[in-house]
Symmetry: D2
Subunit: 203 residues, 4 copies
């Protein structure tokens, strides 16, 4: 993605078992790796759970929390966000509605992503089907937190969806199905990245 | 409690099986009844769960959500707060820290109660041991929500604790052990209510 | 149901908030009341949870555990079955397959009910659609436990389903939708009870 | 461990993020790798969860289920055991008591391990403190299942504990703290393996 001139940040979020391989693969490319989740546990006798410390050791630079497929209790989101900051890990906290987006913004994570769950994996993008969710999310989140980076997601399919999401006031998107299930994932990512750059530079 | 002249609101939160009896007992007294919890389910095939609709039918006028002994996922707190409002039930949402207090305040419940879990049931009151938690809770919550009624709790033992909690900027307290385990629960409640009234009227 | 001559046992399992009212209503009738669930907690600081002790105090004579809509961890089923026995409460443990039916039978509850979850609430009865599940359940459970009372359920609609369930080797059924949603619940219960009696007496 | 002549089987269970590295390291050594847990989900939209398929792809030959630090619902243990068998993965199911050990044995896993949770991580071994738990576990499990391999664990500290566990009727042990926290893990493993061999060969 060198042709993008560093203007677009790409973060990958592989399953736990693939983190080390992906980190190794992207080292030096500017692409970063986040974990898909972290468990609210301390390192030690926590068989089959993943504490933030173990994820950091595996090489991630951040972690997704409260994904729509893996919701957390509010108190646990808060303690994980605080602990991640201490460990030097970034946090991207998901929310299902503008109101919960504002709620997690109060916890001071690095990123908030608002994704209407009913659109996730459908190919019907939030940018097209529910732009008002994006607009209202930005509005409610900014009342609570002026610094957090706002993302959106759910059904994001192509560059046009990314372009719209950014024009509606967010800084980028969360996307899975459209890339993972694509015949040519690289060209989908490239299309989205180029569109993101256009939206940001106002073209 | 007629001598308090209606200046102090008392809400009881009995276990599910006792709700109807308590509602019957307090009818006409001005005392209201809240449920201790509600499950994020719709009425129907939800064996052993309590939907808001079932609690309303049993006579409660509100519900406690996210108590420190019964934490909920953030998305569920939000959907329960919204549904309760539609059903005409009030919501009192608990939080463990000022930051999570601000987070739940963004969901627009009627009451937010911030209770440091390490003090709950100890007899060491938040008013004495951690007044800064109360002060900071009020500050963070008010940035997000100007209307929500702010309560505090954890270790509240007597009228003096209630007085302090109100003078630090909250509107009242959540209390369990100090009353339930008291030899004479009535006199503890009375002491707390009288102190609350003094604090509110600035005596 | 006096005309049944005591040959059929009827147990009701209302929601928590209705237990006391139902217990009062059926006292002296021979009908018993079970709770729909119990939480694996000790009485005390367990806001919004229902310990066995609280259910007993409300008047139940037993409890359903691990219902398909409210699955429990295996270790918790075991500790609840043991504690219920100490408290003088009967236990009816549900299972989804013959194998899990045998597993819970090893814990020595009073009743095991095997209910294929895909048929629950459908009106397509296990007796008609999956008699082999009933037959195999009885076979596997009896290898492990010779005394436990075996029930079945899922989609049970009328007396004929009850008759078949008993003829396939169980001692009775669990039923909800067919009665709760009936225009005339009493006549449905009566039909089922009469059919049960016929099946038992070999008519 | 070549000097053991293949008489002792050693299985390692690293955290998810380390599985691929450990598998690579032990390939050809006869040592096998199990996952610490698997989530009851199908591959797909299950962010931050680990399905059996993903673990198999990472190279494990089996999976621990229902560890005392990560209990599962009974229905999920059953479906995971069945699915693992289809995928060619072995299953080691933990239990907290002889009764729950018998219960999981009814599900036909490859291994059952009974570990009294109150001894886990204490250094007070089940072999010394509760030999009757081992003896009763073997007795109850064998009534239900004649083939399953029975293990025990909790507080296992040295070769003597392993020797006793095998002499009381099990086929081996689960151990974590005593090795992970040892100054010289290799010599602890070696001591345990040599003792196991002695116990098996009746020396």
């Amino acid at each position: 993605m060198k042709e993008l001139g560093g203007g677009v940040e790409i973060v990958l979020a592989p399953p736990y078992t693939e983190i080390r391989r992906v980190v190794e693969e992207v080292t030096g490319s500017g692409v970063r790796v986040f974990a898909q989740h972290a468990d609210p546990v301390e390192p030690g006798a926590v068989t089959g759970f993943m504490p933030l410390e173990g994820l950091k050791e595996a090489g991630v630079s951040g972690v997704i929390l409260n994904h729509s497929e893996h919701r957390l209790k509010l108190a646990d989101i808060n303690s994980l966000v605080k602990k991640a900051a201490k460990l030097g890990l970034e946090t991207l906290v998901c929310a299902d509605e503008p109101e919960t987006g504002a709620a997690v913004a109060a916890l001071e994570p690095n990123y908030v992503a608002v994704e209407p769950p009913e659109l996730i994996g459908t190919g019907i993008s939030v940018s097209k089907a529910k732009p008002e969710v994006i607009i209202r999310s930005v509005e409610l989140i900014r009342r609570v937190n002026s610094r957090v980076v706002i993302l959106t997601g759910a059904g994001i399919t192509d560059g046009q969806d990314v372009y719209s999401a950014i024009r509606y006031g967010t800084s980028g998107v969360l996307v899975a199905s459209a890339i993972v299930k694509a015949k040519d994932p690289y060209s989908v990512i490239r299309d989205m990245a180029v569109s993101a750059l256009k939206a940001v530079t106002g073209q």
